[in-house]
């Protein structure tokens, strides 16, 4: 059968700071379906953050007056609001309890991606990786050391305007371009395609979520059969719309 095969990598241990994620993923996959060169490995940002020590004890965070007042008004944890603001370079919308920010990476999302759940204990929060592209590049290099030429995507679960519920999208990439461009190509009737570029990295992240799930504790999935061209310069920057061209920011 041609097409794509997408499967989760079960059996990873709880991830601690300093963990060798590619090593652990290769080891876990070997017990079910071993990784192969050409695979796209999609890793949930949460375990990347944990491996990189992006976990914060809320008791250590001193909240600003703005954060304290806002937290009080909407029954939130002041330290969490403080972290959300520190992780933001701009507040895009603040409407009632909803706080949509632009992170230092340029991603627009709720609460700067700060996550209080599944953080290993009460009173901790997990922040997004500092540079998910750099994390992905490092992982890709490590997979190569282990004999595997794979593309790496780091994913997170984001909401979107206009549509309820969330989907997984890519926040870091290595090895392949996140966008497939059709610009300049024409259909058999000579029309330019209405669609000019597809965010394949986001589609791969979404596809991977279908097998990882958000509650099943399978934070890594493999997409096998996707044809990608090696691009060692690839980053997610080409998918982040410049705010000057963004009519919804």
């Amino acid at each position: 059968m041609t097409g794509l095969n997408i499967f989760g990598v079960p059996g990873l241990p709880e991830i601690e700071k300093g963990a060798d994620l590619p090593g652990l993923i290769v080891e876990a996959a070997a017990k079910t379906e071993p990784l192969a060169s050409g695979d796209v490995v999609v890793i949930t940002s949460k375990i990347v953050s944990k491996a990189e020590g992006r976990t914060v004890e809320l008791a250590d965070v001193e909240a600003s007056e703005f954060a304290r007042r806002y937290a009080e008004q909407w029954d939130k944890e002041p330290a969490v609001i403080e972290l959300v603001l520190r992780e933001a370079r701009r507040v895009v919308r603040q409407v009632g309890p909803v706080l949509i920010t632009e992170t230092h990476h340029g991603f627009v999302c709720a609460n700067s991606g700060v996550d209080q759940s599944s953080s290993g204990a009460h009173g901790r929060a997990v922040l997004l990786p500092v540079d998910p592209d750099e994390s992905a590049r490092r992982f890709r290099g490590r997979f190569r050391e282990l004999g595997l030429d794979v593309a790496v995507i780091i994913s997170d679960t984001f909401g979107r305007p206009w549509r309820e519920a969330q989907t997984d999208i890519a926040i870091g990439i290595a090895g392949m371009n996140p966008v497939l461009s059709y610009i300049g190509q024409v259909d058999p009737h000579g029309h330019e395609f209405r669609v000019q570029a597809i965010a394949v990295a986001d589609e791969l992240a979404a596809a991977a979520e279908l097998v990882k799930g958000n509650v099943s504790r399978i934070p890594v999935a493999v997409v096998r059969g996707h044809q990608w061209e090696t691009d060692n310069e690839a980053t997610m920057r080409s998918i982040i719309r410049d705010s000057a061209n963004d009519i919804f920011r």
Copy 2:
């Protein structure tokens, strides 16, 4: 191997008005990988529109003064702008040549989803199906007549704020709920999940795009191995955010 298998259905003929899409899909799939009960069949809206006669000769469209002036200002076809406005219940943003509308279905997208490309000839446009949920329900019923219990998703390619490039999303569904809810569930540490609902229909549409492609003329893909519960009342309405709750509209 567990997980998902996703494959395109090649070999469909050019779709004409009145075509029996499920019949044609079953027939085409039989030559490569036959459909099976339990599959999710993802159909590009374009061929649904064609089968339903949602193709318009631009020469037959009388443009309003507003449409004519706007078309002239931005070097667009007046009849196309007229159709975009007729397909809209509201203009969400009109900035330079970019026209973001809310369609009669409630979808927010560029140009009300009106498509001038690949329409079979110059001087025609293809509109979105009138009621993609109803189309999906009809197709699901027809698949059942053919002995197949499949879920049906009708997909289209939409842009999104903040991120460049487009992804496929679901605009019609039958047989399964488009949203997987985690509300009320807690992680092993007693925290509610940060993610409360996943738009699985959109993730399935995105995954299907990876094998359909927008230029490869494979308008149908099958997702096999996705566990879905039968829901014969399902529609996309649960994914359309009420504009009263939408801080970006």
